[in-house]
């Protein structure tokens, strides 16, 4: 293991955002920012974690990076903390500008904040929290990977992740409404309908790249006869990359707009699309940064929402999905919210044959795209694909028992698994619950 931050290996990837920002920093600035954050923002939580960790190493086996790199200890959760936060504390912030680059890389791209390690720590240390503090320190120093920082800027300027302009958003909804109305006459995507039962919010990439998903959701809601709406104003995007850069100030602004939009529309609750990190932001981190212990109005993830619709008989399926499926449990809605049994209920109702991957539920391996890692962009593609060989092995085992389709109810998981399936030649399909239900439900003539 590395003894000194000053001797730490340099960054593995050339990321202009990290290199350029670090080139104008002084060691003194690094020291000051580290100490400011540690002193003013971390409090008892970090101190408890640091003081209680007994260096037992039980967290190692939890981490997909560690397992995928032949148990290289520098990839174990404790090892990653040792290379970052422990150095910062031990040296009282005096780690220097060279080390801070590698620390940013470790925290931003070699940890998905998936919290699988927290399941294995006998003392309950939340290592994801520690890595987030490291990210925040790096972000305050401007040393954050370029791509995700750009995304965070988009949040700041437009209140959405993809620089989608206000008129483009409305235009996309109208476009998808027209398309869907060809299949189901009189179908509407109701904009700004005050007092609707729920506001449906999505992530920025949907209108930009995957407008079809909005179409599918509209058809499903229509078939279930629901009273719903989407906002015409900023606040429609529930995603949040600022949460993952550690820029809590932007995170707070973005979440505030999202909640306030729902309140302005006087809806009874928010229903979120199949995205995991957005759920973490709305349900756990953003609301708490804003001072609400729980979200200020009821909100559910699509898994819970679909589960209820099927259970209550509002969605009727005309047949079951025939090809054998396996289910990938996304960290943020399973370890973060416990929706795994509801997801299995939907699978049971909608699919002929279900093959569990192992491990599963709260012990499932991460997709390696989440935690903002995929949003750090192409420079880190190999980091996350090579860094998740264990996932390929897990999927292959499910495939060898017959699974052909992977259901992954999370956008980041989709992106990560697509790359893994392609890189390791697994030839498996990846679907959202929305894809499956859209095909199977009884639609009005």
């Amino acid at each position: 293991m590395l003894d000194s931050a000053k001797n730490m290996k340099t960054s593995l990837i050339r990321d202009e955002g990290i290199i350029k920002s670090a080139s104008v920093l002084t060691d003194e600035q690094v020291r000051k920012v580290i100490n400011d954050v540690l002193k003013n923002e971390t409090g008892a939580r970090l101190k408890t974690y640091v003081d209680t960790c007994v260096h037992c190493g039980l967290c190692s086996e939890a981490c997909h990076y560690y397992l995928s790199h032949d148990k290289d200890p520098s990839y174990s959760p404790a090892g990653k903390v040792k290379q970052t936060m422990w150095e910062m504390i031990k040296r009282k912030g005096d780690v220097g500008t060279a080390a801070i680059q590698r620390m940013s890389e470790i925290a931003s791209t070699e940890c998905n904040l998936c919290r699988r390690c927290a399941m294995y720590c006998p003392l309950g240390v939340d290592i994801a929290y520690i890595m987030l503090v490291v990210r925040r320190i790096c972000n305050k120093l401007g040393v954050t990977p370029t791509y995700i920082e750009d995304t965070s800027h988009s949040h700041s300027v437009t209140m959405n992740q993809m620089w989608v302009k206000d008129d483009e958003w409305i235009d996309t909804l109208q476009w998808q409404e027209e398309e869907a109305a060809e299949e189901i006459p009189n179908l509407r995507i109701p904009l700004d309908k005050e007092g609707a039962d729920f506001m449906y919010s999505v992530i920025g990439p949907e209108p930009k790249f995957r407008a079809q998903l909005i179409y599918q959701a509209a058809v499903i809601f229509n078939a279930a006869g629901l009273n719903w709406t989407m906002p015409s104003s900023p606040g429609w995007d529930n995603s949040d990359m600022a949460m993952y850069t550690g820029d809590h100030e932007i995170m707070g602004r973005v979440k505030k707009v999202h909640f306030e939009t729902a309140m302005r529309l006087k809806v009874k609750r928010i229903v979120m699309g199949e995205c995991g990190h957005a759920f973490r932001s709305v349900y756990d981190m953003g609301n708490r940064w804003l001072g609400w212990k729980m979200p200020p109005l009821p909100m559910v993830h699509s898994i819970e929402f679909f589960h209820d619709l099927i259970k209550e008989g509002k969605l009727k399926l005309k047949k079951k999905f025939e090809s054998p499926v396996t289910l990938h449990d996304p960290c943020n809605v399973v370890r973060g919210r416990g929706l795994h049994e509801m997801a299995r209920y939907i699978v049971g109702e909608s699919c002929e044959e279900f093959i569990e991957m192992h491990p599963n539920r709260e012990h499932n391996y991460c997709c390696c795209a989440g935690g903002g890692v995929i949003n750090c962009g192409p420079p880190y593609r190999n980091t996350r694909v090579d860094g998740n060989r264990i996932k390929a092995e897990q999927l292959f085992a499910a495939k060898s028992r017959g699974a052909k389709t992977i259901i992954a109810p999370c956008h980041n998981c989709h992106g990560g698994l697509e790359d893994i399936v392609e890189h390791y030649g697994l030839h498996m399909d990846i679907k959202f619950f929305g894809d499956i239900l859209y095909d199977l439900i009884e639609k009005p003539e």
Binding site: Y147, I148, Q161, K208
Partner: protein, 307 residues
Amino acid sequence: MFKKILFATTASPASDNAAHVAFDLAKKYEAELKVFHVFGLPSRGFSTTVKDVRTGEEMANDQDYTNWVLEEMKNTYEKQSENVKSLDFQTLAGVPHTEILREARKYDADLIVMGAHTREEDVGASRYRNVIGSTMQRVARGAKCPVLIVSRPCTTCFWYFSNVVFGTDFSKASDSAFKFAFRVSNFIGCKLYLFHCLDMSSIASGKTFSQEEVEEQIQKAKEKIEKRYVSQMGDFDNYEVEVLEGIPYIEIVKYSRRVNGDLIIMAHHAKEIDPEKALLGSTVEQVVLRASCPVASVNRPDKVEEE
């Protein structure tokens, strides 16, 4: 005939043949022409860089680069731009098929012109090959207006077309394709060939037909063409009906060759299997790959009704 034409270009030599047709059409019909180029994004994580089509290098996706691409597009098409009534160039970053469909709707285009697979010898061809192929299919499937796909040099030009081949499978989408085929033939005053192929591939038929059955079905299909299409053509009598048995995409190409077809018009079905999943692609794609003439895909009635 056409008022607004959207030419979706790869901004590379791969689209030269399509460009030729697009500009010619715009001049002939005094239509507005929009030259539209989407540069693909490298990955799902939204990026600040794009890959330059010509050099394959990473470029910063900013206003300077966009302006430079626009300037390059204008230069490339400078000569052909003369005498076009109204010409506009636009470029942006995104998923090509999504942005083309979005723009076609916004612009209210009544014809989209695009190339198909890029040629091997182009710089970046191998990289773009799959993208362009699936872009073409996805646009053809989703567009509300006819999509003219030009993958080879077009020896004739649109108003010189003398033999239009309409291929049908009697679907609802084919009705729209027929409307367009008839309108074009009637407008130009050329011959219209109405063609259907009895699908004999074992996958489709599931069994071996006796010759009597084949002939019986051919007769039925001919009657269907008379009833469904010919009855709508009024005084127009410059047409021929043909039904053959075989593999549809092969037979339509062979038939077109036999009658010197210079434009094939057919439907690309909305409900067809996801083009990314289908190994061989749809009939339309197979025809585009094999035919020596342009192929127009029409899926919906919106833009093909008589005015």
